[in-house]
């Protein structure tokens, strides 16, 4: 797994000007709020078009402003777990989980639904509506939904930040399990050093829109 990102982007009076490259399977972007972590993740996913920059995952160029290249979000096959889960409120948990499966090419699918449901401990929630889930449950379903689209890379944007300490402690082991058992490449964004240190040794520190160390 290799990720190479270089991006300059202006957003109001905030300027992101960061670059990193890594071969680690799990990499963490760590820094205070407003340091540009999420913007960088949005740029990798293709949700934000940088003013200038280049994104390549495993040698596949996804964004290259100099060449006028930008692979659309839905063709990148990059999973995204948002801080606020963003489950589809009109669909049951089972239907949320199945959503991305349908769009993934058959030859590239991995992990069965039962396997991922068991891994995340969400089997008892399948018939429920997102509105009836707790914060931790929502986040686990959101992770499962992203995984079942069989992404080549999973981006996790502060997945625990909206949870209280107890829920955090309860949810983090699930993320460790998918890291160890699915062996999927992950970019994990957090402002909690404790969290990222538990997940990986590859930590890229951001502050004020710049990479300040690793």
């Amino acid at each position: 797994m290799s990720i190479a990102v270089r991006a300059r982007h202006d957003q109001g009076d905030f300027t992101l000007d960061a670059a990193f490259q890594t071969d680690a399977r799990v990499v963490a972007l760590f820094g205070p709020s407003g340091s540009g972590k999420s913007t960088l993740l949005h740029i990798i996913a293709g949700l934000v078009r940088p003013n200038e920059g280049r994104v390549a995952v495993d040698g596949r160029v996804l964004t290259d402003t100099a060449a006028g290249l930008r692979v659309p979000v839905h063709k990148r096959r990059i999973g995204y777990v948002f801080q606020d889960a963003r489950l589809f409120p009109h669909l049951s948990v089972a239907r949320n989980l199945a959503y991305g499966r349908w769009f993934a090419p058959k030859s590239e699918r991995y992990g069965s639904r039962d396997e991922i449901v068991a891994l995340l401990g969400i089997g008892h929630l399948l018939d429920r509506r997102p509105a009836t889930l707790s914060g931790g449950e929502k986040q686990r379903v959101a992770i499962g939904r992203a995984l079942l689209a069989s992404p080549r890379l999973l981006l996790m944007d502060e997945p625990l930040a909206s949870l209280d300490a107890a829920r955090k402690a309860e949810t983090l082991p699930y993320i460790e399990r998918l890291r160890d058992e699915l062996r999927i490449p992950i970019v994990y964004v957090s402002h909690s050093l404790e969290e990222v240190e538990r997940l990986t040794g590859e930590i890229i520190r951001l502050d004020g829109g710049r990479v300040v160390g690793r």
Binding site: A45, L47, P72, V73, H74, K75, R76, R77, I78, G79, Y80, F82, D84, R86, F88, P89, H90, L91, S92, R95, Y99, G100, W102, F103, A104, R129, A131, R145, A146, A149
Partner: protein, 230 residues
């Protein structure tokens, strides 16, 4: 309260005109609402203005423009007649066209507000799961905006039912063909002793309109709340 056969005919014709006008303009209404709510393209303000034009123009002007364009000698009307044998002027189908044009701004407005209320974050999430823009619209935006779409349809239906000015200008008021409910009421007011008939038909028109507005109001309040679909 007894209605004469002619009065029933006018009520039935109006219902048919309103249903056809609403259903046929719905796909276009959804497309226009989506373009206005989510699109960023040159001419967006112009499109917005054009859609809203029938709301501010005197209806007789809209009817006249329809007659000039879709009349048998009008550019579009002559072409429709030559290619497919479709004649709109002085036919009930023309009444449906006039009603659709007049109701269009109301329909688009309701649907547009509903689409704008849909969380774009959910659309982004669907994109990261592999859905292209059209699939995102079909599986996320539209289901979540559904109450607004229904509200827009009901408003459009009620407006189409009551359309008078553009209709009578474009297709006149021919009993059995284009004599709609409002035209029938107007006709009653023009003859001595027509008061009772005008009153009966007005009551029916007011009743239908009231029910439509109440239902549409209830649906509008449901926008953003998940509809029970699956």
């Amino acid at each position: 309260m007894e209605l004469t056969p002619e009065e029933w005919g006018a009520v039935r014709l109006s219902l048919r005109v309103a249903v056809v006008a609403t259903l046929l303009s719905l796909p276009l209404g959804i497309a226009a609402a989506y373009a206005l709510a989510r699109g960023r393209f040159p001419g967006r303000a112009l499109l917005d203005g054009l859609i809203h034009l029938p709301l501010v123009l005197p209806p007789v002007v809209t009817g006249y423009l329809l007659l000039v364009t879709f009349g048998r000698r009008g550019p579009v009307g002559a072409w429709l007649d030559a290619c497919c044998g479709i004649v709109l002027s002085f036919r009930w189908t023309g009444a449906a066209l006039a009603a659709a044009v007049m109701a269009f701004p109301l329909m688009v407005r309701a649907i547009r507000l509903a689409i704008e209320a849909v969380d774009r974050g959910l659309e982004q999430a669907a994109g990261t799961l592999g859905a292209n823009r059209f699939m995102v619209f079909l599986t996320v935006t539209l289901p979540l905006a559904l109450p607004g779409v229904l509200a827009g349809m009901i408003l459009s239906f009620a407006k189409a039912l009551g359309e008078f000015g553009a209709t009578i200008t474009f297709v006149s008021a021919i009993p059995g063909e284009t004599l709609t409910l409002p035209s029938a009421i107007y006709a009653y007011t023009q003859v001595p002793g027509g008061d009772a008939g005008a009153f009966r038909l007005s009551l029916i028109a007011a009743g239908i309109a009231l029910v439509a507005v109440v239902v549409s109001e209830i649906l509008t309040r449901r926008v953003g709340r998940p509809a029970r679909l699956t």
